[in-house]
Symmetry: C2
């Protein structure tokens, strides 16, 4: 091809941005179902929806998530040349909203919010620069009962998503701890310097990843990591380390059992008394809400985000698939809107990373959805006016059955059309040939049975016994009933 | 206050970006209902969901929407310093997706997509820089039957949104025209220069705003607008102008009637024959799909986006509230993915601007939703352990009743708490005092009846006759039944 023969316009290569992703129908149908299920549960717990823009003034966002988050902001300029940025979470916009509409948003206020957030992070497996968060938060209440309600809502949502074993036991577990309990522990261990406290919490947070022996070393002089690099230790003495280790290893047969085990370890103090009272109250509230001991456990080793949270903290995991990590997390933070307001507004809430949750559901064999919502596929047969096909579709849709009429390549034969339907696992096909049309009849084909037969799963006799039909020709007036019956079988 | 007394940290003023908006629960509940209603209808018509990122490579977007849109792009840089931008519609991402996943996305393909789009436009009443689009498009089919299905889906969606008068007549109207018909008209009128053709279409598009007399002038030598500025005319001769005016004024008693009226005006030609055949086929398909003559009308004056569309075009309006303008629009465009692919991919679809639709619904008294989803409000009375309140909530939620326990200011009395519930129009309140608790009883209060009584709408006798109860005290075991009965009354 000589240069003059090249087309004048250059084609653009269709590409998704690095670190971003598209959702094809198969994934979206599954995601929509999960969102609907959780939304229904959260609404039962009194949470109501809000939405806020994807873009915020830079000054609203900057500094709210620490240095790391500042660097990860997608920044741009407004048409008025003001510095703006894409939101990196849904909590800062919630705080702004609470502060901005004091007349319209009366406290206490429970809201849920689903939306995309953006972080210019290093992309990797399961790490995207745009991801969907699904948050619930309750603002304006100091009561630990609200923390219990958030935990109960998380449990019910996970249960409704099908995360229960066959014997009814939950496949999820909410681990619960409290910042106040950690404070009591650190005070008790003589760790009073705030920087040292944070260092200790960061080390304990690594426990599930690195194991207790490494935590011991890192609380002391330090250790060498797997790549041979030295990790600086906190430098605690061995007595304090052992007290900490015993504490974070505390278990009990029940939530109150854990509280008792911890109580036995801690010297009495005001901090201790307050922390234990909070945990006892939380345990009682969880009982009242019907949250079982196997759904939510007290775990003194949980140390996530403790420099941010001020009361109970919680995290949901799927013990059967530990590699997925936490699928929901949250806790109490008593300075919701301090960036915008002088008054203190206590809040508690939980956040779901939808992509991580979908990964978790897939890992335990849940969260699958059909490839399409379409349930009936009308084959376009030669010699049949399009209007006849549309009438069939219209009739089925009138009964609530999602229906598609094949309208692709007019030369596509029946086999091609059925393979188009089969590829998307549409369960039923409708065929109307010229002879049938003149005789007032119509054929209905069960594509699932057909697939099973092709794959040698079922046999003709079995289907007949089970009342499953491969294909039937019925009177035109019996179309809807026949399709419904086939979809239910 | 001297300077040294000022607090060290400055508060940030909570503000939404100029041209952007927040959605409080009242608005979000209404929006969610509308989205769910439309989504259900679109799924019945075989459309399946997809989602794509908010950000795209600049090269993907630039030039797809003309000079105006290029200027309105929110542009930024990726972490890899590539030029990127926020999407301005959902059609370009759809075209990219079709081109990018030829193995996964088999044609014909029908998808719906709901999401935010961004335009750095001049903000104004009802004009925002971020707004939600809700699109359906079908790619890979040349059949005018698909256009008919898009129109039918629009009609059904609008009907399901409650846009019908009491006598059953629709409050919406879909106006339908065709680019092919316009081409025939222009050819027939001897307007052959493409630039002149576009000019004529732009002038006709102004008809609803400026009226026929001004259109006449603008098709001719030009006119002076209301602010005294001259508007350049197309410069057609008066015979051609009259032909055009007669054409765009064509009406008929039915869709076929309009086709006949237009046919009588046009000289026979290949273009005319093709255009008329398309309109006849479209009319027949609409009939088959049960779209009534009052829902979708053929209107030769409709000229929206005709330099983009290639076949049928359509637009939904609410004749009762003309100031709202078009609430949905779409048409056939036969170059979906030409930016990315060599092959021709025909497509047709419709787009809803959700904010405009919500305005339209509000204007005709539809689209309202309750201020909250919460249906039962548990008052926190003095001397009652929180756990008892949680048990009540848990029981009601177990029956699917969205319930909130008051957990605000612990000093708030019953009156304050009930006014918190009343302000959000929660229908039922539950009260459990110490005496009731020990007697195994509980009180249930109908807050709607209370409100009506306060406002003098109802009277005691009327309520008793209607079986409506203001407040009852029942056995604790009858709680759920009593609340359900009250919610249904």
């Amino acid at each position: 091809m000589t240069e003059t023969q090249q087309p004048i316009t250059r084609l653009v290569e269709p590409m998704t941005l690095k670190g971003f992703r598209d959702y094809l129908p198969e994934e979206m149908i599954a995601r929509n179902r999960v969102v609907e299920t959780i939304r229904r549960v959260y609404e039962k717990y009194g949470f109501v929806p809000i939405d806020t823009p994807v873009l915020e003034y830079l000054v609203t966002l900057i500094g709210t998530g620490g240095e790391e988050t500042n660097k990860q902001l997608f920044r741009l300029e407004s048409p008025e040349s003001e510095p703006i940025a894409m939101r990196f979470d849904l909590t800062v916009p919630f705080a702004r909203l609470i502060a901005q509409y004091p007349d319209k948003v009366k406290l206490p206020f429970r809201r849920y919010h689903i939306g995309p957030v953006f972080r210019a992070d290093k992309p990797g497996p399961g790490r995207y620069r745009q991801f969907t968060q699904f948050d619930i938060d309750a603002a304006g209440s100091d009561s630990v009962a609200v923390d219990a309600e958030v935990i109960a809502a998380m449990c019910e949502a996970l249960g409704e998503l099908g995360l229960s074993r066959e014997d009814g036991a939950p496949e999820y577990r909410i681990q619960v701890n409290s910042r106040k309990l950690m404070d009591a522990l650190l005070e008790d261990g003589g760790v009073l310097n705030p920087e040292t406290q944070k260092h200790v919490l960061r080390v304990i947070d690594k426990l599930p990843k690195v194991g207790m022996e490494n935590v011991r070393k890192e609380l002391g002089p330090g250790r060498i990591d797997e790549s041979g690099d030295p990790i600086r230790g906190v430098g605690l003495n061995s007595e304090t380390i052992e007290r900490l280790v015993t504490f974070v290893s505390s278990t009990g047969k029940s939530r109150l059992g854990v509280v008792e085990a911890v109580e036995a370890l801690l010297a009495p103090s005001e901090t201790t008394t307050r922390a234990l009272a909070e945990m006892r109250e939380l345990a009682a509230c969880l009982d009242s809400l019907g949250v079982s001991e196997s759904e939510a456990v007290f775990d003194p080793s949980l140390a996530r985000g403790l420099d941010y949270y001020t009361g109970p903290i919680f995290e949901a995991v799927l013990p059967g698939v530990p590699q997925i990590g936490s699928i929901m997390g949250g806790g109490r933070y008593d300075q919701l809107a301090h960036r915008f307001l002088d008054g203190r507004i206590p809040a508690t809430g939980a956040s779901i990373g939808l992509d991580r949750l979908m990964d978790g559901l897939a890992a335990v064999g849940q969260g699958r959805a059909p490839l399409t919502n379409v349930q009936a596929f009308v084959v376009a047969m030669k010699g049949i006016p399009t209007q006849e096909l549309l009438k069939v579709a219209s009739e089925l849709r009138g009964e609530g059955i999602p229906t598609e009429v094949f309208m692709g390549d007019p030369k596509a034969g029946m086999k091609d059309q059925l393979s188009h339907a089969n590829a998307r696992e549409i369960p039923v096909a409708i065929m109307l040939g010229p002879d049938e049309l003149s005789a007032g009849k119509i054929s209905v084909k069960n594509l699932i049975v057909g697939k099973e037969q092709r794959e040698g799963i079922g046999d003709r006799e079995g289907y007949v016994k089970a009342g499953k039909v491969g294909q039937v020709t019925v009177a035109r007036t019996e179309l809807v009933g026949t399709v419904k019956q086939m979809l239910e079988s």
